[in-house]
Symmetry: C2
Subunit: 239 residues, 2 copies
Amino acid sequence: MTNPTAAMLVIGDEILSGRTRDSNMYHLAQALTERGITLREVRVVADDHATIATAVNALRAAHDHVFTSGGIGPTHDDITADAIADAFSVGISHRADAMALLAAHYARGGQDFNDARQRMARIPDGATLIDNPVSIAPGFTVGNVHVMAGVPKIFEAMLAGVLAGITGGAPLLSRTLRLMRGEGEIATAFAGFAAEHPDLAMGSYPFNVNGNYGTNLVIRGTDPVRLDAALLQLTDLLA
Amino acid sequence: MTNPTAAMLVIGDEILSGRTRDSNMYHLAQALTERGITLREVRVVADDHATIATAVNALRAAHDHVFTSGGIGPTHDDITADAIADAFSVGISHRADAMALLAAHYARGGQDFNDARQRMARIPDGATLIDNPVSIAPGFTVGNVHVMAGVPKIFEAMLAGVLAGITGGAPLLSRTLRLMRGEGEIATAFAGFAAEHPDLAMGSYPFNVNGNYGTNLVIRGTDPVRLDAALLQLTDLLA
């Protein structure tokens, strides 16, 4: 069985302008790898209705799951829910269960449940709500698209809920051989080793420490016994 | 005059697997914003020939500049140069000037200029070399696509060279009003303010400090006088 595939869509002018350094991509990549879901592509796009809708449609057609981050708050620049409804050609309206959750939350805090806050209950028709244990305003899943908040703490909490409901595959494991030798010195031997192990993925990642070049050779696969054996062989060959 | 637009293509299994946290996107976003080039889209794709070629062609058709990161080293998993040549339907071969640069570099270090290292002199036909002051092996520009290394120090050094040769527009500036009030409380007033200033871009970014909600309201534009005036008005309105 091959593992399910996924894509991520980050919606955020603040990422593209360099104001904010994204952390949700890094978090999602690790969480999916642990769970045996292969993240194949990430796109970061601007807060633009047509751009978001086009990207969502391209990604949901190509992958088993799409995870989005950003643009579901109460302000005028939060346009993700409308763009997703448009991508799926469904309506969008203030949903009763989301309204009830939010009304109770603001009542508890003695805060006005105003129009802006009510916007966060606007959910595309046919969606399932994603629980938000941090600040209540829900995300939602439509088809294979999981729509989550951009604030990292909320994104991470929502993702934990979504992943609990998704069947993954065998987790992708890795073994790393760290060498204080340049890539060019070991590249030919490493290529030969990779060719002899077509069932394992091999990557080479150079680094520089205090002016000295080194290389991390990474072996990836799903069988830990096979990975351990390959790491021993590679160590004998190069270290 | 509108500012030139750009896209970035990050090539890297190691980013998608969560092994490495990308930093080149954040660096590029800031550098382009300072230079008046609008970064409109970023894609992160796997080390796969056809995927890279398809993404490059989509991005170079849609934007004035495309910046790529990763996959131009000496190892078997470094396939970016071949994929770019394919995307442009041009040949690729060991180029004399790149060979000479690298041969001299390895001769200086007393190191063998082996086949793997010679791979780094494979450059698509018609490309211009991008200088690599860190580790010599060059990047290259073909058409509007600037192909650079993934190692952050090298990416940043190559980018500085590329940007020196690109004409940007008016730098995008921003002013931020930080409020210890939740987004939902100020959203309606902020939307009204944004509507009154259609020439400025306005974004709202919630945060949480020790359990208290706050919001950064960001005003973006190219005219510093106009931005300062707008920030004063917004402060009067909300702070």
